[in-house]
């Protein structure tokens, strides 16, 4: 009814009828890129406002109230403010690396959206190695954080950069391993095929067959996205602001943007792999369009991430590493072994 697929199909047919094939490819590539960028930006604007409201209400205050209805224009006002800010580059910074760090961070955050199915048929490119691609591309963030930390020529940034490198690489291991259980059951790496397999009632969702895998994934993903209780690379009270301490204006905003995009990414992956993607929890609810289900589940997951952040203290860097290698990694392996047994028995 309100599915978006037919609209995009119609646009595609229209383009095909007026342009040669080569140009159709170019236009659709830029078009989808623009759409993804636009949609994600809107989400980020919303998340920033939403996080402020969520945290405020958890802390018995109102949050932004003055700009628009319940302060919904606040993020836009902040954006305008950030655009006007003086763009400072430290004198001793490595200028090229310093300039490119936020760009790399920003691009890496967006590239994951190529293989995420937002709804039935709403996917940029259904790669047959979808999961592998996402794992590979999200790790790119660590490069940008290291670049930022090193290029700023600031000891606090350097510490933040080193911390983020250690943290993200460590948590990448249990994160990847936690997804193997799903891949073993699904016998495919394609995101769309995995979602299709979870059709029907909600007990078909992989979270009920892979509870351990989901828990490991979710904790590791929280660490990957640098969210409290794992936000040690920017630990404000310890490292002032970590890797982005020397950044101002739009460069800083790009890091910030990427952080919120990452939050959506890990939620989208969790929803796709564990919560049935665009499927409704029950077949009779199918009249609601698939993309609404997908976005709704993502928002719920993002809310949980916010809930974590405003409840827990921050862990210490050595505890964080110990947790990854001594607890999460064995748990991920146990999950793989149990999944193997399950497949063998049933």
């Amino acid at each position: 009814m309100l599915e978006l697929r037919p609209i995009f199909d119609a646009i595609g047919e229209f383009l095909n009828s007026i342009l040669p094939e080569f140009w159709v490819t170019i236009v659709s590539a830029f078009g989808t890129g623009a759409i993804i960028l636009g949609v994600a930006s809107v989400f980020v604007l919303f998340f920033v406002w939403w996080e402020r409201k969520v945290s405020a209400h958890m802390q018995q205050r109102y949050g932004p109230m003055r700009t628009g209805w319940h302060g919904w224009l606040q993020t836009i006002a902040d954006g305008v403010k950030l655009l006007q800010k003086e763009d400072l580059i430290p004198r001793d910074a490595d200028k090229l690396v310093y300039l490119f760090a936020p760009v790399v961070c920003f691009v890496a955050a967006f590239l994951a959206y190529v293989t995420i199915p937002f709804g039935e048929g709403l996917i940029v490119q259904d790669l047959n190695i979808g999961i592998l691609y996402i794992i590979a591309i999200t790790t790119f963030t660590v490069v940008s954080l290291l670049m930022a930390g090193w290029a700023s020529h600031n000891k606090w940034s350097l510490l933040g950069g080193m911390r983020s490198a250690a943290q993200i690489i460590s948590y990448e291991v249990p994160l990847s391993l936690s997804l193997i259980g799903v891949i073993m059951i699904a016998e495919t790496l394609s995101m769309v095929s995995i979602v299709v397999q979870q059709e029907g009632w909600f007990w078909n969702w992989y979270v009920f067959r892979q509870p351990l895998g989901f828990i490991v994934y979710y904790i590791a993903a929280t660490a990957e996205a640098n969210r409290t209780p794992f936000d040690i690379p920017e630990a404000e009270q310890e490292l002032v602001a970590g890797y982005n301490v020397e950044y101002s204006g739009m460069k800083w905003a790009m890091f910030f943007f990427a952080e919120y995009i990452n939050m959506l990414t890990i939620s989208a992956i969790a929803v796709t792999l564990f919560f049935g993607g665009w499927h409704a929890p029950a077949p009779f609810l199918d009249f609601i369009p698939s993309w609404i289900w997908f976005v709704g589940k993502c928002l719920l997951s993002v809310f949980v991430l916010m809930w974590f952040r405003w409840t827990y203290p921050r862990v210490r860097v050595d505890q964080l590493m110990a947790f990854a290698w001594k607890f999460m990694l064995p748990l991920a392996f146990v999950n793989i072994i149990l999944t193997g047994f399950g497949i063998y028995l049933f």
Partner: protein, 369 residues
Amino acid sequence: MSVKQLRTEEMLINMGPQHPSTHGVCKLVIKMDGEEVKYIQPHVGFLHRSIEKIAENRNYPQFVPYTDRIDYCASMNANHAYVVAAEKLGDVEIPERAEYLRVIMAELNRIASHLVWLATFTIDLGAVTPFLYAFREREDILDLFEMTCGQRLTYNYMTIGGVGWDIPKEFEPKLRQFLKIFPSRIDDYEDLLTNNPIFLHRTKGVGVLPKETAYEYSVSGPSLRGSGVKWDIRKAEPYSIYDKFDFDIPIGTEGDAWDRYKVRLQELRESAKIVEQAIDGLPGGDFKKKVPLTWKPPEGEVFCRIEAPRGEMAYHIISDGTPKPYRMKIRTASFCNLQVLPIIGVNHMIADLVAIFGSLDIILPEVDR
């Protein structure tokens, strides 16, 4: 490159004066080996206003507002320390109602100060929400103070000879309502923090302050009691009317950050108990004895100490018989407590250093004066 050619270097870092976790302007020069802190050197004095020199040029009653600025988180206690010392110097008898009002205000301010500590300590550990919970209760106390003396931070409430203003009639119902809900609010903090595994990991065994070190460095207040020393000047050398009230001195066992946290939370309950007893027994009558601005205490000297929220606060006043003190030395708890930071902070992670700094409850204007 062979392994032998690889080497590591200690990194010298200036933590502060504009670092978010130094609670004011303090500079810690630290040497780090990776994440581990190997050497700490505190630099203070950024807030030095030479209040002791100012004191030599002010009349005795004029100096009360300056005591507010020594410890802005617990101005009432700072007032109290000064007026008790000055009255002892001049043998001033004050009305009983004034003593009760002083105790009520001092204990309420102790609660407020500990709440500020709790708030900043949890924020040092990265938990932002308890910060605002603690400030919610502090707000109630500040409302009570505002109702009484019109100020919210620097009260200038106690005067030599009594207190500046009597409490208004709305004060008592509001205070009783606060005392009724406050214990359940402390339970809330405990639910959020005390047995939270992340919180336990961050504080248990961190910054252990042995009893002997605490003695040597004259650590006082909750930081000393966390190390298992049952020492509270309110009990050991009762001043004002503290011998009339029934309360416990909570102590810790290990002397780590968690013990200091636990002791302060217990003290919140004990202080609330004292306030309740004081408001129940509040007598009528005068709240103030008139002391002229050119009040001249007899020649002599006095040393008087009280238990402020951060520990021992003492005034050593030397009078030469004129309306101005000949010399006034202010001994503050943070001045001594900060000295142990280089001892107990080394060989910890930088994140722990922040936690230890927070757990000692240092307030910088008190160090610098």
